[in-house]
């Protein structure tokens, strides 16, 4: 399932290591995650569900959901999509609930950190926030759950729209590279593969695990740049392996060079659905069709036109009714919808081995809710989002947000918000950033002045507070 030739990407594959899946040796490249290594070897079933023993596989591939839990080295419920594979590692499918761990040694050490600013998440917002702060000499600690810095930028092979200032015309992967280079040149303190899971207000402590080490972080300010996760829609068989988020497929294909399938169906014709479909084509994967429930294509015309040129049909007013297959997707049954989105009797099936969902994103708001930030449900922003001031401070003092966690937009606004949150913190710290802030707010307003931003602006009004 490996991709060897790609018009944009080069996959570096040097040495190989061996780990064990269900007792059998499996080859993998170091620096890839367990889930990716399994996919590379054609293994799609990661576990069987507790009640009905249905096969389960990957869904988000970025540590946001619990679809990829497996037993690793005797420890159950390990998120294999964010765990790097290691020589000799023992990986097992979980049959229902996990067994009592076989190991007694887990927590090896504890470490304490007291950064001025804790930045959670290293996507465009988090990277920009960290850079802006460190440039002024502020002590930053950046925490990232995934193995790589850069968030979802690291799989965006397309060139960005917008203005030159926000790096338009540059591919997402290149933007990530540039930002990471800047981060490193500033010597920002960061941890990858580190899951931040809890906040206790009484002690003002954030808890995170990095491998077997507990990090206790006591920050003065926090920028929550936790991003978003892909939404799921209800249909029969939606839990079959190889029904996954479009973003997960993008991770497989563009980050690790692994084919998600041979013939795939894309559900949703927004920008994500269209762009990912095109990227799959570039990787030599056949996109059999794109279906869209509404009566028109949601994404930009240019993206749709690229697909049409490749002969990929885009069926509007059509949705997925059922995913069929034994251990993974073998075909999809589609159904046409009437003007009220009700299913008609017009059904048809297509043979695909993967069904990719690009049906929207929802902000990863959980830590904010736990931290006590006042939340509001705003559909146009993707779900639960925190109230925030113009300076991006939440209802909890010194807790700031930046990027998709505050409402689903795109990477350019995320970068600007990351910078804005940091400038707001810098202002509180006594730096003179007024001019920079004003200019930035102007840029942000400009980015949001297109017709596509209308709904977002409306949503933002509802969560604004002074």
């Amino acid at each position: 399932m490996e991709i060897f030739e790609h018009p944009i990407l080069r996959f570096e594959r040097k040495s190989k290591i061996t780990f064990f899946f269900e007792g059998n040796p499996v080859e993998a490249y170091p620096q890839e995650t367990v889930a990716m290594a399994l996919y590379r070897n054609g293994i799609n079933v990661f576990s069987y569900s507790p009640k009905l023993h249905r096969p389960r596989g990957l869904f988000c591939a970025i540590g946001k959901c619990s679809s990829c839990l497996m037993e690793v080295n005797g420890i159950p419920n390990v998120r294999t999509c964010i765990l790097n594979v290691q020589e000799g590692m023992k990986v097992k499918r979980q049959n229902g609930l996990g067994d009592l761990p076989k190991t007694s040694e887990f927590l090896k050490s504890e470490k304490e950190y007291s950064p001025t600013v804790l930045v959670i998440g290293s996507g465009p917002a988090g990277l920009m926030a960290s850079i802006t702060l460190k440039e002024k000499g502020v002590d930053v600690l950046l925490i990232e759950q995934n193995p790589n810095l850069g968030g979802q930028l690291i799989k965006q092979t397309h060139k960005f729209f917008g203005s030159q200032k926000e790096k338009a015309g540059t591919r997402g992967i290149e933007i990530a590279n540039e930002l990471v280079k800047e981060l490193n040149s500033l010597d920002v303190n960061y941890f990858t593969n580190t899951t931040l899971f809890s906040f206790y207000p009484r002690e003002n402590v954030f808890l995170a695990f990095k491998d077997n080490e507990l990090l206790k972080i006591f920050p003065k300010f926090v920028v929550f740049a936790t991003g978003a996760s892909e939404k799921m829609i209800p249909f029969e068989g939606n839990d079959l392996p190889n029904v996954m988020g479009a973003g997960a497929a993008q991770t497989l294909v563009n980050v690790y060079g692994i084919k998600v399938g041979t013939n795939v169906l894309m559900v949703g014709a927004g920008n994500v659905g269209l762009i990912v479909s095109y990227q799959l084509l570039q990787a030599g994967i056949n996109v059999k069709a794109v279906v869209e429930a509404s009566d028109k294509i949601g994404g930009y015309f240019v993206h749709a036109a690229k697909l049409t040129r490749f002969g990929v049909p885009i069926y509007t007013r059509t949705t997925i009714k059922k995913a069929v297959g034994v251990d993974k997707v073998e075909k999809a049954i589609l159904v046409e919808l009437d003007e009220n989105f009700n299913e008609t009797s017009k059904e048809f099936e297509i043979d695909v081995d993967a069904i990719l969902l690009s049906v929207g994103l929802q902000p990863s708001y959980q830590l904010l809710a736990q931290a006590g930030c006042e939340m509001k449900y705003i559909p146009s922003l993707g779900g639960y989002v925190p109230l925030r001031s113009k300076e991006l401070e939440t209802s909890v003092k010194n807790f700031y947000i930046a990027g998709d966690v505050g409402g689903i937009e795109e990477a350019s606004t995320a970068m600007l918000e990351g910078k804005l949150a940091s400038l707001s913190i810098l202002k509180k710290l006594g730096f003179d950033v007024e001019k920079e802030k004003e200019a930035l707010e102007l840029d942000l307003a400009k980015l949001r002045s297109t017709p596509f931003s209308k709904k977002i602006l409306q949503g933002l009004k509802e969560v604004a507070y002074e």
Binding site: G98, L100, P101, S104, R202
Partner: protein, 377 residues
């Protein structure tokens, strides 16, 4: 104005269990007023444990009777409540403790509870993965156990609704109308109800409601914290108690437990890392294989603690007002028997168990306190 034979304030286990037995006693017009959702107070936040290993006759007898009802409820309530008699394994760490608990076991046996002191070998048989270092023995009662609080409440609620009991949730008590010795009606933020009898079983809010009615209850609220883990296949059926630590596995596979952090009286339910750290280190020292298990949720609730750590049940200075409070952390397990006792008192003007007569509010005036030593968490 709607009128009721009995209005119960508080939609927790006590309120629902009392309403259940009021229905059984033939009382027709019953209302329950709950300011949030059913079980939002202490019941839905409790540690699920049900035990008879206590140190006073009052607690032992009440819990012996409560366990009988728990067993019955598992069979006759409309939905399973997942009552499980997995036992309570109370670890003892010294010869002195062992001697002390032998006395309690003797008392428990005297009143018909099947507890006994067991050796380290027997502990190993019951919970093979326990770390026996520093353990002397254990007090073990196989008929103790646990139930799933939300399922108990759902099941009782279903029964009550099908028997015509009005349950008003998200409705707060605002005021009472009373004469010199009786309450005539109760005013909420939504309505007003005339009543013949009033039961206040409002957990941590019972005291303030009593104050509103002109009498005091000597109870204090203490925050206690609990965590649950991710679910695992069932490997642990008893509740294990080790000093102030307790933990068991729910039928859904999650480890649930807590410990005591010696907190001051408070109305604040904020969670603390201090608790998490103490709980984790205590848990891992006695059951090291749990060291890599992730915690999923952490919450807190109140122990409403009375001066002698026993419930305060029944009559008050007002003739038609009754209370149930002060369970000191044992309200859930005592729920069925307390419900039956309170319903009996409201219906017939007396308790049916001698021991309950020792648990009325006037014992504090008379100086007739009973002292419970075995309080955990």
């Amino acid at each position: 104005m709607k009128s009721y034979d009995v209005v119960v304030v508080g939609g927790g286990i006590i309120g629902l269990a009392t309403a259940y037995y009021l229905v059984k006693n033939g009382v027709r017009k019953i209302a329950i007023i709950e300011k949030e959702y059913i079980g939002s107070g202490s019941t839905g936040r409790c540690g699920t444990g049900i035990r008879q290993q206590f140190t006073t006759k009052e607690h032992i007898v009440l819990m012996r009777e409560s366990v009988k009802i728990w067993r019955l409820w598992e069979e006759i309530l409309p939905k399973p409540i997942h009552f499980r008699q997995g036992g309570y394994l109370w670890l003892l760490r010294s010869e002195e403790e062992d001697n002390e608990y032998r006395k309690y076991v003797a008392l428990q046996n005297l009143f018909g509870v099947d507890s006994r002191i067991i050796s380290k070998d027997e502990i190993k048989e019951i919970v093979p993965d326990i770390n026996l270092e520093g353990i002397f023995g254990a007090s073990w009662c196989p008929s103790d156990g646990s139930a799933y609080p939300q399922d108990v409440l759902d099941s009782l609620e279903m029964f009550l609704k099908s028997h015509g009991v009005d349950i008003f949730d998200y409705e707060s008590v605002v005021d009472f109308k009373k004469t010199s010795d009786r309450v005539i009606s109760i005013k909420t933020d939504k309505d007003e109800y005339a009543l013949d009898n009033l039961l206040i079983a409002a957990g941590y809010a019972t005291k303030s409601l009593a104050n509103k009615l002109g009498f005091d209850i000597p109870v204090k609220n203490y925050r206690h914290q609990i965590v649950v883990s991710e679910p695992l296949k069932i490997f642990l059926s008893p509740m294990v108690v080790d000093r102030s630590l307790y933990f068991t596995q729910t039928y859904r596979g999650r480890i649930i437990g807590g410990t005591d952090t010696n907190e001051e009286e408070t109305d604040d339910l904020t969670l603390t890392y201090n608790f998490l750290q103490k709980f984790s280190s205590e848990l891992v020292s006695v059951f090291s294989k749990l060291s890599s298990v992730r915690l999923m949720r952490h919450w807190s609730g109140f122990y409403v603690v009375s001066p002698d750590k026993h419930p305060i049940l029944g009559p008050t200075p007002l003739k038609n007002v009754f209370i149930g409070t002060g369970y000191s952390g044992h309200g859930f397990m005592l729920g069925p028997i307390v419900g039956k006792l309170l319903a009996h008192y409201i219906t017939y003007g007396m308790f049916f168990l001698e021991e309950a007569n020792h648990l009325t509010l006037d014992r504090f005036e008379k100086g007739m306190l009973i002292q419970e030593k075995a309080v955990i968490g």
